[in-house]
């Protein structure tokens, strides 16, 4: 084995990631994928109403989440971020309770659509459906960090289409002017539902939008969890040191249709999708672990079995869990005395 390969195979260690952690990253990627696939089946079989998918985004989400501090940093995810929320405390059971809209759903008590993550205990901040509104909120958390002299950062994620919204531009500008500890990460999956990137933006690289606001901006391969980990870790350090926000463009491809209401082959070809499946991060990351000598087929089979059970149990639990009482719809408009 040549020296370069040894170094390449120690990529995670060079980043300060332990062998145990890197395996956990891989497991979380697979868990997010398996949840996503099951949710799609549940919708197709009529058990749940809706699912919006994050397949193809797992590497970037997990790379970013593992680079941050759980229950310290603040997370403002968007609706594809299953990998992110599973990395920082939410469980598959939590996600299932949300898609079944059950009383025990920690994100909203069965009020919000799936994918509208929220859990104060994990510092996951509630969001809405008009996209990008969470960007200024993340800036507000970072402003609080600066005002209260706290050493946390906020991270906000969103899609490529979102980079056209006013709140994106207003939020980036505010954070840059005040040099706030916030990380903006666009998960550029090439499509805003059906509209391809070239019909969304005229600039060649989304990352240039961050440069335009005078902030440190980097482009990263969103299929490489370790590459994303590295840039997010650096962005966090920059934020904590008072050097201001970072804009990260993570490039990937949305392998699944936008949601269960979408037929993606109406606007893109099967060949294009198949070509991108070849870049799917999960088998590539598995190969990396194998090459590091950290992963065997036996471990893989065991993990797959465990995840299958975890997803089965979560599905069963959520399916059987009670719905909220109808009159719960009237509570929590204002703080109740």
């Amino acid at each position: 084995m040549s020296e370069t390969i040894v170094q390449e195979n120690n990529k995670h260690r060079n980043l300060g990631i332990t062998d145990e952690q890197v395996i956990k990253m891989y497991r979380t990627m697979v868990l997010a994928r398996k949840f996503d696939e099951r949710a799609l089946l549940l919708q197709r079989s009529g058990k749940v109403n809706f699912h919006v998918s994050g397949i193809g985004h797992e590497a970037a989400q997990i790379g970013a989440a593992f680079a941050l501090e759980k229950q310290k940093d603040y997370f403002l995810p968007y609706y594809r971020d299953y990998g992110m929320v599973l990395s920082i405390g939410m469980t598959v059971r939590d996600l299932m309770l949300s898609i079944f809209a059950k009383e025990e759903d920690i994100t909203s008590g069965g009020r919000q659509m799936p994918g509208h993550f929220s859990a104060k205990q994990y510092h996951i901040v509630t969001g809405s459906s008009p996209v990008t509104t969470q960007v200024p909120h993340a800036v507000g958390f970072a402003l609080a960090a600066k005002m209260k002299k706290q050493d946390f950062v906020s991270i906000v994620t969103f899609g490529d289409g979102s980079s056209n919204q006013g709140d994106f531009h207003e939020g980036l500008n505010f954070a840059a002017v005040q040099k706030l500890p916030v990380i903006f990460m666009v998960e550029n999956n090439q499509y805003a539902i059906s509209t391809p990137l070239h019909k969304q933006v005229a600039c060649e690289r989304l990352v240039d939008r961050g440069l335009g606001y005078g902030m440190h901006s980097v482009q990263v391969d969103g299929n490489d969890p370790l590459a994303v980990y590295k840039v997010v870790k650096e962005a966090r350090e920059r934020g904590i040191k008072g050097e201001g926000p970072t804009f990260i463009e993570a490039k990937m491809y949305r392998l699944s249709p936008h949601s269960t209401s979408d037929n993606d082959l109406a606007y893109r070809t099967k060949e294009e999708v198949e070509e991108n499946w070849k870049k799917d991060s999960i088998p590539h990351f598995k190969t990396y672990l194998e090459e590091c000598g950290l992963w065997t087929e036996e471990q893989e089979l065991r993990m797959q079995e465990e995840i299958k059970q975890e997803v089965n149990e979560a599905t069963k639990y959520a399916e059987q869990a009670p719905f909220p009482k109808p009159e719960e719809a009237l509570t929590h408009v204002f703080k109740e005395q």
């Binding site: 920690i106 009020r111 509630t126 809405s128 507000g140 402003l143 006013g166 939020g171 500008n173």
Partner: protein, 327 residues
């Protein structure tokens, strides 16, 4: 008790709350070094520094949105919109975000935020420095909406708004800023949100109003007293949640209800007040409920005769009360 102006009462409320709680801070366009375009935040920059009296980029949605994020963290932001007319770029943040945060998170997150904005005309502000935007927000559950008419109410309501655990829109009639002066106690007090106030007791006609037009009603009532007409004036003070009980009590008092506001008539708060009375008291009334409001034109024009025609005033209000009394 010292006599202070409406604008000074608002400034004092912010200053005292910022002294009381270090999480309270002000952000908005020109609110720092300059002290606000009307001077409402004057002195805060010197006393509390640039972080707590923050000049923001000119971007209203970010002002609201950043304040929402800070509020969810646990800060107590007071976001200033330079004019009510300029609030509209922030309406999505206010209506879809601030108002729904507690509800959509099933009480997990909260958004204790105050958004202040000067409203109303009579200052040659034309279409976009004269609007009364309150009816855009009334009808959004999850928002509290306050419009004080006096320095006493302004100070007490603003303190209550800052201490409230939910988002509060605080509308200030800019014509009241220097024109309205009254006695305000020096000690700490609040005026409870959601409670109307009888500003004048009367027997013949009930006027239900808020903001600047409270003063037109009081001036008209004083003159009508000489003519033998006794006017009961109810100041709503809070537009959401409306003080149902206070409204019904005031309507019952005289059996003749005149609702007055500067915001245009159609879809205004008066429609809701009228519906509340109609639902409960329609058979106890001695006259049909009447609304005397701004015209249904897009906004107030700037040319002096046009503005004068649009604006309500003491004489117009007096005439409307008189007609109601004679019904």
């Amino acid at each position: 008790m010292a006599k202070i102006s409406y604008i000074d009462a608002i400034s004092a409320a912010m200053k005292e709350e910022m002294e009381r709680d270090e999480n309270v801070f002000v952000l908005g366009e020109d609110v720092g070094v300059k002290g606000g375009v009307f001077g409402t935040t004057r002195g805060l920059h010197e006393q509390f520094g640039e972080m707590r009296s923050m000049d923001t980029p000119l971007a209203e949605s970010a002002i609201a949105g950043v304040a929402i994020g800070a509020a969810m963290y646990g800060m107590r932001p007071i976001a200033e919109m330079q004019y009510g007319d300029f609030m509209l770029p922030a309406t999505n943040q206010i209506i879809n975000e601030a108002a729904r945060i507690r509800y959509r998170s099933n009480n997990d997150w909260e958004c204790p935020l105050v958004i202040r904005a000067p409203i109303g005309g009579g200052i040659f502000g034309g279409l976009y420095h004269s609007q009364c935007p309150e009816s855009i927000f009334v009808g959004t559950p999850g928002l509290k909406i306050v419009v004080p008419s006096t320095p006493y109410d302004a100070k007490g309501l603003l303190k209550a708004a800052i201490r409230d655990e939910d988002p509060v829109l605080f509308f200030e009639h800019k014509k009241c800023y220097r024109m309205i002066v009254d006695e305000v106690p020096e000690e700490d007090y609040i005026v409870e949100i959601g409670k109307s106030d009888v500003k004048r007791e009367g027997e013949d006609v009930t006027v239900i109003t808020y903001g600047l037009t409270v003063h037109f009603a009081l001036q008209a009532a004083a003159e009508l007293e000489q003519e033998g007409i006794s006017t009961h004036v109810l100041d709503l003070r809070t537009l959401q949640p409306l003080d149902r009980e206070g409204i019904l009590k005031a309507a019952e008092k005289t059996g003749k209800v005149l609702i007055i506001h500067e915001d245009n008539k159609t879809g205004g708060v008066g429609a809701e007040v009228s519906a509340i009375i109609a639902e409960e008291l329609v058979f106890d009334l001695d006259a049909p409920i009447k609304r005397f409001c701004g015209y249904d034109v897009p906004a107030m024009p700037i040319s002096p005769p046009l503005e004068k025609f649009y604006m309500l005033n003491k004489d117009k209000v007096k005439q409307a009360i008189k007609e109601m009394a004679l019904f």
